[in-house]
Symmetry: C2
Amino acid sequence: MAEPGAAMRPELTEARRDLTFDVEAIDESGQRSTVAIAGEHPLTLYVDRRELVTLMTLGQAPEALALGFLRNQRLLEGIDDIAAVHVDWEVDAVAVTTRAGASDFSERTARRTVTTGCGQGSVFGDLMAEIDAIRLPVEPRLTQRGLYALLDAVRRQETIYKQAGAVHGCALARCTDDGMDARADVLYYVEDVGRHNAVDAIAGHMWLDRIDGADKVFYTTGRLTSEMVIKCAQMGVPFLVSRSGLTEMGYRIARQVGLTMIGRAANTRYLLFTGAERFDR
Amino acid sequence: MAEPGAAMRPELTEARRDLTFDVEAIDESGQRSTVAIAGEHPLTLYVDRRELVTLMTLGQAPEALALGFLRNQRLLEGIDDIAAVHVDWEVDAVAVTTRAGASDFSERTARRTVTTGCGQGSVFGDLMAEIDAIRLPVEPRLTQRGLYALLDAVRRQETIYKQAGAVHGCALARCTDDGMDARADVLYYVEDVGRHNAVDAIAGHMWLDRIDGADKVFYTTGRLTSEMVIKCAQMGVPFLVSRSGLTEMGYRIARQVGLTMIGRAANTRYLLFTGAERFDR
């Protein structure tokens, strides 16, 4: 049974995989060398023993990924619904157990198909209907100096990308600027082979730690497509920053939900596309 | 009714969208400017009036994308099964009509869930079982000069990426080297907001034009993850080249199916990871 008002953390494994693997390669001059490449592992998600989806993941944060997937797909409504998250890499599986049990979950998912996170999905209409209801808070502000502090913090991050490439990174940060000093505290930094997995893992961490998105900045190395913008808005984060570019639909949805969206951001360069009213240069 | 042996091309629309859109942005110095961004449009795929999936696409090759999706998902077995592909951007839909009609199609898809192309899917087990049966031809060869000709041809391509970013590109090419002269003929170059859409569109073009993959090279700007390697192998193309890196599972599958896989390829640099026996430096 769900316990209203209970603020219990689910029972969790901490089952990280090796994140990089060494393989041999031959370069253009015929030289053999050892190259680090990123891991990629299937992880089949079961909820109350029911198989839901197989995610291909780096394996850095499998518990948070499973939770964030369920959150962003709107398959479970709150972290209090969840009793346990057990990852077992022996069988490439993550088992999520709800407090309510299988019947409640089945009812909630019966009318939907799992979406995809990559522009190949089938609940897009549902997501679009849902974002009509989202209004992001107007008060939070981000300064140019706060943004630069974030870009600097991200650049200094020790990453799998620097070692092995082939992954995308996402961060949730709090950027502050008291007029004298600007700083960015990176709360989470997650990388994954799919950019949507990295976003979902951040959403899972936020659920677990009961972090509100309203005064945070979401950073991604990936492109700002429609689903990325929708997920950021669903998490209630009013600032979305990317090293990469954006699509017209990402732009349109960002305007619709009132998101402050900044693209092509690296070092001291950026382009502010939407939500300029929250940004101080 | 399907007509055995019939080599008829399906009836096709040619319904391209505008591929870029101009929006206003503000840069770090406070300057406003007009920036081109890539289009992104939902395209809902119907087969014999049954809704299957919504793809988010640039809209460069929607008919080929629909066909390639059906091909790579193994939802239809041959191009001869297909009577017509009609894209209607008024309603963001593509209607595929089979020659056999709905009953045959329903039976074939009843036991499978649509996968995703981005590491968030549910037919991965099926795909892995299928690749056990794939053996790529060993005779085709690629020379370093042929590879350089391909990288040069790709670099010269007029692309949406150069204009607007935020898309991935894929090419199918024939690379030849007679010992005197190396050349690369790019048969198709498709860009899309999702890297898997671009691959699927190439697969659709190959189906339509009845192009065999055995003597071709597949190029992608995207990362060589498991699904990318699987799709290349399914298309029967023995050479896979990417500007980006690879994952451990992509590497493992490439070895398993005997694919010649080259990553981090740009200008005159590359790393040959698997299938060195088909490559002459």
